[in-house]
Symmetry: C2
Subunit: 356 residues, 2 copies
Amino acid sequence: MTTVPQSLQEAIQHKIDNKTKPLGALGLLETVALQVGLIQNTLSPVITAPHIVVLAADHGIAATGKVNPYPQSVTAQMVLNFVNGGAAINVFCRQHGIGLTVVDAGVNIDFDPALPIVHARQGKGTADYSLGSAMSVEAAVETTKAGAAIVQRIFEGGCNTIGFGEMGIGNTSSAALIMHHYTGLPLPQCVGRGTGASDAQLQQKLAVLEAVATLHELATYELPPHGLLSRIGGFEIAMMAGAYVKAFELGMVIVVDGFIATAALLVAIHLYNGGGACALLNPRHPLLQNCIFAHTSGELGHDAMLQELGVHPLLNLGMRLGEGTGAALAIPLVQSAVHFLNGMASFETASVDHKL
Amino acid sequence: MTTVPQSLQEAIQHKIDNKTKPLGALGLLETVALQVGLIQNTLSPVITAPHIVVLAADHGIAATGKVNPYPQSVTAQMVLNFVNGGAAINVFCRQHGIGLTVVDAGVNIDFDPALPIVHARQGKGTADYSLGSAMSVEAAVETTKAGAAIVQRIFEGGCNTIGFGEMGIGNTSSAALIMHHYTGLPLPQCVGRGTGASDAQLQQKLAVLEAVATLHELATYELPPHGLLSRIGGFEIAMMAGAYVKAFELGMVIVVDGFIATAALLVAIHLYNGGGACALLNPRHPLLQNCIFAHTSGELGHDAMLQELGVHPLLNLGMRLGEGTGAALAIPLVQSAVHFLNGMASFETASVDHKL
């Protein structure tokens, strides 16, 4: 006797369990199929016009050379590389038919207005937060709003599945400080090598960030999210935080990339909470319902951040490139989950015998 | 000053390292790009007409019901499901444009000769190897040859990248015995739940296989590969072993699926050695040079077998379905590796500054 499912969740699980395969044999893909069905409130979800948004911005602290082995100029050069189709994220988006939008969230040069990028910056890079605030609270607010507006437009173009990438020399520092603030983990567990710091560079980066954390009282009390962004944020991280909240409000499937993208998600969780009482790192936080975690980055700190969130990414390839590359490689797996849910035969339709 | 590469390997690595990304930032994809370049002996490898071959066969021991929770009839039913496009492997191959060939390697019914499958069986399922040999040595030899012939035809059709899947109720038992024989690991570390044995079923399966291992003297001395196949093999495993060797000889990229596919690879390694002195589990075995490991299966034993081989699969999604589904999901990652190697800009062409 078949039991009648009591809820959508039970109905989706019933559909999954009746596919021609042993129970649970598709592992995490089954979890993703269930999640996407619940996000879209249907037994037959679809992934339409998947899209990656790469947000680029500069960091004042990077100009000091104290936290990063590449010069700040690389941020702008890589934006042009995105425009010309030569970066890793271009290659992977082309491979999988994923749309790509590149955004100037705050790069420290004046791009030609005719370039096919979204010009949305609130500043030409942040100020050096080892000396003072990175940006004003007003700029942080405007930047999160700009991120929301970008997602709204992409959604209106027919996209229901989105991932966010970033490019910003020095931005692992900002992400490490955010992680430290929200998780309470000591900085040495949050600060990694970024684009490839040597041992000596890593020690210097850590020392600089310890001083920054003290200056901005990051371990003293919980800051409201816009306040945190104004102290040690990056424009791309602020914009991504606003983008996450909007994507959630629009019911989109959100594919979360690596270290910086996950740090921005921590900010988004608090933005959605209105910056109020700490619902921090609650795996049942509403925003997380729409998030599929793409991969575990090779950057130190990411795995610990994922563990604090209680989530299990799809890939673990030792990648640490940013740009949304992990998300781009994970989107086909999300599509596989949806395809098996919609495309596989059931035991009944295929006339396959059940378990003894 | 740029050093002139001294070998193809150095030249490929140099090409990888000059892509617009931090050194090593694409993780395992960089390893795969190097490997595929070396397999194809070129700086610009290509993946053409990737293909999955699903080999189906029945196991006499499965008819006893002692080692498997599904009835033996499911093997043939699933072959018809493959033909009708309703199985997981169909869905994933369609998604990624992967060719699919279904082979009757020894199923215990007479399929309509008009079905779009390769009819290559040497027997209607194996005999019950808890009572005697599974097949004759001659049948094992013919079956490996049939596997080689199938690969030859697919190669001639333009395919240079191939993965092998299987369908055969009871075949985790045969694979566990092969693993036990070649790795020397005790049976409790080799025998898992297969399609979903309960605790009691698992204990019974283990007891049956302990008796089989004793009967066939699997732990006494190393058997020649056709001899091992004749004692406890399956037709699909024998055919896959022959197929691996041929794919290697043809210089193809081989994407290795899960537990049974890896056990068949152990047999293939010894077939290629001519069954002679034990070069067993040498990570530098020639055959392994062409093998990319798709995923770590959720089936107990697979991870240990991979560790014995010293290899690192691309995916770990907790899947344990067989059919080549892990290989099908990993092929896009192999393609991503090749695409970045061919499609990304270098620091020079993109005018991006190097590391400080």
